[in-house]
């Protein structure tokens, strides 16, 4: 374990991914679920950067994917927070269990 290589990076990113999955499954508050999604997206970004650095150093494609993922994550967070604020106006709560009007 003396040299840091690709496997160590991938282990960190996969642990981060599954922490995000755990948070997404257990939390019932919409803002904290959004935070878990951010963790998952960040673990994917670490993967892209690590693969680009250690395996394909002659290209920049992983870096572009990371830039586009960060952009789309920002747009997604903005839209999600607009939805959350609108939901709070209607239900006075942002718990996913409380928004059950359209539940079958």
């Amino acid at each position: 374990m003396n040299n840091i290589g690709l496997p160590q990076m991938l282990i960190v990113s996969s642990i981060l991914f599954f922490i995000g999955v755990y948070g997404f499954l257990t939390r019932r508050n919409m803002i904290t679920m959004l935070m878990s999604i951010e963790l998952i997206l960040n673990s994917v970004n670490i993967n892209f950067i690590a693969f680009n650095k250690y395996l394909y150093a002659d290209k920049l494609d992983g870096l572009f994917f990371t830039i586009f993922i960060i952009t789309i994550a920002a747009a997604e967070a903005a839209v999600a927070i607009a939805i959350i604020i609108n939901l709070y106006r209607s239900y006075k709560s942002i718990d996913v269990e409380d928004a059950n009007t359209m539940k079958f």
Binding site: T32, E38, Y56, F64
Partner: protein, 200 residues
């Protein structure tokens, strides 16, 4: 165990500790601050890998944008000092097991796999190289996704405004402030004289 290895493990500890605190802390504001630390640790990891541009983008967009947006919406919608409800024990157990087994499976696969690095000369990920390849129209350019993302951002901006906009009640039966309605007849521009004249 040289300095670079130690730095990597410190960064990994910051990232994973922040992430665990962000998904388990019952005070929502502290969870958001833990997420902030985790994201800063990820930016540090990009610095560690010599990708300064991505690290700067990470700090600007995530730490400066998304976390501030999340904290802002916490203040708008939550009582941030109070503890959140404890999640059901069955849900914690089964999602914990799912995450644990998924993680163990992935790590086993990673450790067995033989990665073959390229032998070609490396490109420096400077802002110059990134910019000229991203905006080039040749075979390996990224101009089309760049334009698509700009349209996506515009659509997201308009969508946010439309979703969060408060719709006013439709204005019906508005009577001017100095009007007087008696029976079916509405008198506008009511003064003392008109009241004396028409009502009394």
């Amino acid at each position: 165990m040289n300095a670079s290895t130690i730095i990597f493990y410190v960064l990994a500890a910051i990232i994973l500790g922040g992430a665990v605190a962000a998904v388990t802390n019952r005070k929502i504001f502290r969870a958001a601050i833990s997420l902030l630390f985790s994201l800063i640790g990820i930016a540090g990891l990009y610095f560690y890998l010599d990708y300064q541009f991505i690290a700067a983008v990470q700090i600007v967009v995530y730490v400066g944008g998304i976390v501030v947006l999340i904290i802002f919406s916490i203040f708008l919608t939550q009582e941030s000092g109070e503890n959140m409800k404890r999640p059901a024990i069955g849900r914690v157990l089964f999602s914990g097991l799912a995450a644990l087994f998924g993680c163990a499976f992935t790590i086993l696969l990673i450790q067995d796999y033989q990665f073959v690095p390229t032998t070609l000369a490396a490109i420096e990920p400077t802002a110059n190289n990134i910019g000229s390849q991203m905006l080039s129209t040749t075979e390996h350019g990224y101009i089309l996704p760049f334009e698509l993302v700009s349209i996506l951002l515009l659509a997201a901006m308009i969508g946010c405004i439309v979703i969060a906009m408060k719709i006013k009640e439709p204005a019906t039966n508005i009577i001017a402030p100095n009007a007087l309605k008696i029976g079916d007849v509405t008198y506008t521009e009511v003064t003392i004289e008109t009241i004396k004249e028409k009502v009394i």
